[in-house]
């Protein structure tokens, strides 16, 4: 089952390896990213960074959906990482199991505005966020587990 679905544009890094993995007791990290799935160099570096007692899978969005829909994935404690609101929304669309999405870090870019220290959203992101909220999915902003959990609607 999915213990956490996190949007973080650095994918596997310190906050994930050091704080989230132990906090949710994840046995398996799934990086759901079409680009990374095809990039052996990225896969290698992420494999170096993964926590000692967790498995790391790097899959395309479509393969992630297949993997997570599989019965064999049900008993596993899984932490899913995506790097955009779009990818998170795609997973939430395909997987009814997703009831909550953690907003960890989205860096600023052209056309994006900050809604918290580490989260910057574009208009396209906002549309997706409203759709997700309308579906009753919890969207919470939090960098590390011990931070205060802030519902995204309070920041818009």
């Amino acid at each position: 089952m999915i213990k956490l679905l996190r949007i973080d544009d650095r994918l596997v890094h310190g906050q994930v390896a050091l704080t989230w993995t132990p906090a949710v007791g994840a046995e398996c990290l799934v990086v759901a990213n079409d680009k990374a799935a095809k990039d052996d160099f990225l896969k290698m570096t992420m494999n170096l960074a993964k926590p000692a007692n967790a498995k790391l899978l790097v899959k395309s969005i479509a393969d992630t959906v297949t993997f997570l829909s599989d019965e064999r994935a049900k008993p596993m404690k899984i932490l899913v990482l995506v790097n955009s609101v779009q990818d998170a929304a795609a997973l939430a669309q395909a997987l009814p199991e997703v009831r909550s999405i953690n907003f960890g870090g989205i860096r600023g870019k052209e056309g994006a505005r900050p809604i918290s220290k580490a989260i910057n959203v574009t208009d396209a992101d906002m549309t997706l966020i409203r759709e997700l909220l309308a579906k009753g999915i919890e969207l919470e902003v939090r960098q590390v587990p011990t931070d205060e959990q802030r519902p995204i609607e309070t920041l818009l």
Binding site: Q15, A17, L18, D40, T45, L48, R107, G108
Partner: protein, 533 residues
């Protein structure tokens, strides 16, 4: 008095200059406390108070962009007020915690404010004005010590009298209540550390650490030494040298040889001195840390000596500066590996006409996250924990060697590795990482450091937390002290139980602030009702 206030302000400013000093832990309460003590004529007490504060803030670490309470301002002011009022660590605790939370808001404000300069950085880059980039990076970095210096001085001028008169009105029972409440707080630090490390497989090492200290009374240094030995023995048994990860189906088609490989060419354009200056300048990586582009100007600042050597034209320099002003964020301790690799790629770019400039940034952004994962875990998750465990255990007894060992245990491996990684990055490029990924060195290191870290954390409740019970059991004339009975069964069971209690709540996502208040209240009431002392 004004002289001491100014000196204390300078200490706080020194602490806030840590972003120029490579995150070398010089700003921790364990180091600044003794300095404040020295200024106020009570070195001994400065050491003890610094250690007490270090314990409470032990679980607060800086990972990624998550900013913990400002322990620099809180630690310096807490120590100063405690010594000035003559009431000792209890006051330091009562003040340092709220001060550090308030000061964190000021610091965060600065991180939010700094991006206003990004346009100016971009303008400098457009014209290839690397001196402008350097200047602004340093100026912005100086803003933090200056701003927090003003805050500290104001707090000292306005607060000292208030604290003193407030102190005089506190009755003795309330004072001892405060003392006990403060002594409870390390349980929160330990629990936050456990939250990072504790799991079913690691549990035996945690309890081994506890037993070594509670029954065998071993000092923390001995536990650290035994931990290293245990880690070596266990990882040698479990991690037999073998290629990894052959059995992982997802990596079956993992053909390393297709990935970009950079090997240092024979006729190098860069000198050894250039590479060394990358290391030196990496110390200022976080000077202009901000919430929009993070360490980008720090990266540019570090690599400028190389760019100067490679790009003699304005256009070349402008393009390179723009490249390195893009978003960047990694663990400062291992940053030199990426900086070294980037230097090698820049050198190749300067030499080859058809080099793909974009690849420099894609390697940088590809590496910054994963390497932050590696180095944050190693330095914050393990080495810092051991350094703090050993350092505070000595400093709590007023031994000046404590803060010194704390700095050495952390910084000897830190600086040696940071220096070596610069050259490894430059000379072998990404080849180093590819070689590393073919061995099981990383797995071994992670498994070993988790064993060592857990043993040291397990040793903490018994050595670093002074909570006992004055309660008596039995009828009044034949009553025996409960603590004596407990000591017969499991010495230091109370600190251990409190640590697990807090850990239980941390696991259930109870807010740290509530846990802090809860512990203070429990300690205070426990003291008033004679349950804890």
């Amino acid at each position: 008095m004004l002289t001491s206030y100014i000196l204390i302000t300078l200490i706080a400013m020194f602490g806030h200059s840590e972003d120029f000093l490579g995150t070398t832990l010089l700003s921790r309460p364990l180091v600044l406390g003794p300095l404040v003590g020295l200024v106020l004529g009570d070195f001994q007490q400065g050491i003890v108070i610094g250690a007490t504060l270090e314990l409470i803030f032990m679980g607060n670490i800086k990972v990624g962009a998550a900013i913990p309470p400002d322990v620099i301002t809180g630690g310096v002011l807490g120590t100063a007020f405690a010594i000035l009022s003559g009431k000792g660590p209890a006051v330091a605790l009562a003040l340092a915690v709220p001060i550090s939370i308030l000061a964190e808001m000021v610091v965060s404000g600065l991180f939010v404010f700094r991006p206003v300069w990004n346009k100016r950085f971009d303008r400098y880059a457009e014209t290839g004005d690397y001196r402008g980039v350097e200047r602004l990076h340093i100026l912005s970095g100086l803003l933090k010590p200056l701003l927090m210096g003003v805050v500290t001085l104001l707090a000292l001028l306005l607060g000292s009298e208030a604290v003193k008169s407030f102190e005089e009105t506190i009755p003795p029972w309330a004072h001892s209540g405060l003392q006990v409440a403060g002594n409870m707080l390390p349980a929160l630090g330990f629990a936050l550390l456990m939250n990072l490390m504790f799991n079913k497989e690691g549990a035996p090492y945690f309890f081994l650490g506890f037993i070594l200290t509670s029954y065998l009374k071993l000092p923390m240094i001995a536990v650290g030494g035994l931990g290293v030995i245990a880690a070596l023995i266990v990882t040698n048994i479990t991690h037999k040298a073998q290629p990894v990860p052959a059995n992982d189906s997802d990596f079956d088609d993992f053909d390393m040889d297709e990935t970009p490989v950079m090997v240092k060419p024979k006729a190098a354009l860069l000198t050894q001195g250039d590479i060394r200056s990358l290391f030196v300048r990496s110390m200022a990586l976080e000077a202009n840390f901000n919430f929009e582009t993070w360490q980008n100007t720090g990266f540019a600042f570090a690599i400028i000596p190389v760019l100067k050597r490679l790009y003699r034209t304005k256009e070349g320099m402008a393009r390179a500066l723009k490249r390195h002003l893009q978003f960047f964020n990694t663990a400062p301790h291992g940053s030199t590996l990426i900086i070294g690799i980037a230097a090698a790629m820049e050198e190749q770019n300067a030499r080859e006409q058809d080099f793909d400039e974009e690849s420099i940034n894609s390697v940088k952004t590809g590496l910054m996250g994963p390497l932050a994962g590696v180095f944050d875990s190693l330095f914050w998750g393990t080495i810092k924990v051991i350094a703090a465990g050993i350092g505070t255990s000595l400093a709590l007894q007023g031994i000046a060697l404590g803060p010194l060992l704390f700095l050495l245990i952390f910084n000897v491996p830190h600086l040696v590795l940071r220096y070596k990684l610069t050259f490894i990055g430059y000379e072998t490029g990404t080849r180093f990482l590819q070689d590393l990924s073919k061995t099981n060195v990383m797995d071994k290191l992670k498994a070993g450091s988790s064993i060592l870290g857990l043993m040291v954390v397990g040793a903490m409740p018994a050595t670093l937390m002074a909570i006992r019970t004055p309660a008596m059991i039995g009828a009044s004339d034949s009553a025996v002290p409960l603590q004596g009975v407990l000591d017969q069964i499991v010495p230091h069971i109370i600190p251990l139980a409190l640590t697990f209690l807090v850990f239980y709540f941390v696991k259930r996502n109870v807010k740290t602030a509530y846990l802090l208040l809860g512990l203070l209240l429990l300690g205070f009431l426990g003291s008033v009702f004679n349950v804890f002392a």
